[in-house]
């Protein structure tokens, strides 16, 4: 579920690369200061994206200075200043990690140690940001209900995660939120769920776990077989999400340069999707004996 939202590296400007890493460090420090050092391990670049988006749309500039931190005590690196927005993003990260582990425990029964590890940080978020936990918990419950009912409509299942992201986006952006930003978050959330499901298609098949593609298109041993038989419809589904992202992000009211964010939303998302598909191509070539 994490680690899919990233920029398309060949097209990332150096200036944005620095900004991106600095924002990551900013949120990391914010987690450490507000919710405990342990929870910093759950941070991913997805939240750096959220931080960039929120700061841009809300018109809040960040100051980037060289600082040290626990993980990098010797050489100082560029880090973004911490403000209220960073703190909210930190809370969102902690809540998402906590409920993701809880969901894994429900599915597989494993991860109780991990949950205990993050529990204290999560409890701290409840003091000021209980709304975030409420949003995440409610949408995960809806998702679980659909999974138990073996929902086969891809749109219906993706809708839960899309909705969760939409509500989180509206919470983080506050007054600066509008229909375009809500829709952008909705499509991004839907995409994250779907690409994660596609990536886990084979694993879920072996474990006998719920996967929307299994119920919508049938059980195939490998992802490449699934794509060979239903590639067109799967292409259409992802195409719909990409179109939604492009159309809604086109009209966002930016307050700063948005090269980084557009890179992630238009190029990054497609590049990651293509990589998941390419992964299957490599498997095909190996099995056909083409690759040495």
């Amino acid at each position: 579920m994490f680690g899919y939202v990233k920029p398309d590296l060949p097209y990332l400007y150096l200036k944005d690369d620095r900004l991106y890493k600095a924002l990551y460090c900013g949120v990391c420090k914010s987690i450490g200061n507000n919710f405990g050092q342990r929870a910093r391990l759950g941070l991913t670049y997805d939240i750096a994206f959220l931080s960039a988006f929120a700061h841009n749309i809300k018109g809040a500039d960040v100051e980037i200075k060289k600082e040290r931190c626990v993980a990098h005590p010797l050489v100082p690196r560029f880090m973004a200043s911490r403000d209220e927005i960073t703190e909210v993003c930190a809370a969102v990260n902690v809540a998402l990690v906590y409920y993701k582990i809880k969901d894994d425990i429900n599915d597989r029964g494993r991860g109780r140690v991990k949950l205990a590890f993050f529990k204290r940080a999560w409890k701290k978020t409840l003091k000021k940001y209980s709304a975030v936990s409420e949003i995440v918990e409610r949408n995960y419950d809806d998702l679980r209900a659909l999974e138990r009912a073996c929902e086969s409509r891809i749109d219906a299942v993706g809708d839960c995660f899309g909705n969760m992201m939409r509500e989180l986006g509206e919470y983080v952006l506050g007054d600066a939120s509008d229909k375009n930003s809500s829709d952008t978050f909705y499509f991004l959330g839907k995409w994250i769920y779907l690409i994660d499901a596609l990536d886990d298609y084979e694993k879920d098949g072996k474990r006998g776990e719920y996967n929307p593609f299994r119920y919508a298109f049938g059980e195939y041993k490998t992802l490449s077989e699934l794509l060979k038989n239903h590639g067109q419809e799967i292409t259409y589904i992802f195409g719909g999400v990409f179109a939604g992202l492009k159309n809604s992000s086109k009209n966002l009211k930016w307050k700063f340069n948005h090269d980084l964010i557009i890179n992630v939303l238009t190029k990054g998302v497609e590049a990651v999707t293509l990589d998941v598909f390419k992964k299957t191509q490599k498997d095909n070539k190996k099995s056909n004996g083409e690759e040495r």
Partner: protein, 204 residues
């Protein structure tokens, strides 16, 4: 006027379609035989037969119309709900329908489209077009839906069903990256090395 028709057939206004059929058949049989009687009785029977035919046809067409207009009325309610953005209300009204004809599937596809469920919307439109192939409105909507998705994805989007070409090749001629995939991969590898070294060796 309608009441006269019902009284000709000797029925109540609220009779069921079955009762109507039975009454019509019985009376028609009776007067068809009587038609061949001598003199006035024969003429009377012929006249009655025509009356019964007319009455039956009028009642049937009136019933069909009212059923259609009540359905059409409900459809316009749903359209109103969709226009006002009350999608859950519209969905509830759709779920209450017993009969699901082409128009029902079309309205369901509109509700799905507004919810951003593009795949389900396309499926419903396809069913509607299958049920009513001559309807132009459905075809136009279907084309619009596909055009919207295709226009947003012209450049990078390739056929994922096994023929995805490397990123470099999907562009127009003058926009191709020199060195093609080699450059992109190298760039990625360098970027990844950069990130890894950052993490381990504090090389910044």
């Amino acid at each position: 006027m309608t009441n006269d028709f019902y009284s000709i057939l000797g029925l109540n206004e609220n009779c069921s379609d079955e009762e109507l059929e039975n009454a019509y058949r019985t009376l028609k049989e009776k007067y068809s035989e009587d038609r061949f009687l001598e003199g006035e009785a024969g003429n009377e029977a012929a006249r009655k037969l025509t009356e019964i035919e007319t009455a039956y046809r009028e009642i049937i067409s009136e019933r069909k119309e009212s059923e259609f207009s009540s359905q059409a009325g409900c459809y316009s309610d749903i359209e109103g709900a969709i226009k006002r953005g009350e999608l859950s209300e519209a969905q509830k009204m759709l779920d209450n329908f017993n009969e699901r004809n082409a128009e029902w599937h079309y309205l369901q596809s509109v509700v799905f489209y507004k919810k951003n469920w593009t795949n389900e919307s396309k499926k419903q439109l396809e069913i509607a077009m299958q049920m009513d192939p001559s309807n132009q409105k459905y075809k136009t909507s279907y084309d619009k839906l596909n055009a919207k998705i295709n226009s947003a994805n012209e450049k990078n989007f390739t056929d994922y069903s096994g023929n995805a070409s490397p990123r470099g090749e999907a562009y127009e001629d003058a926009d191709r990256q020199m060195g093609g995939d080699g450059c992109m991969e190298f760039c990625c590898q360098m970027a990844i090395c950069n990130i890894l070294l950052n993490c381990c060796c504090n090389c910044r």
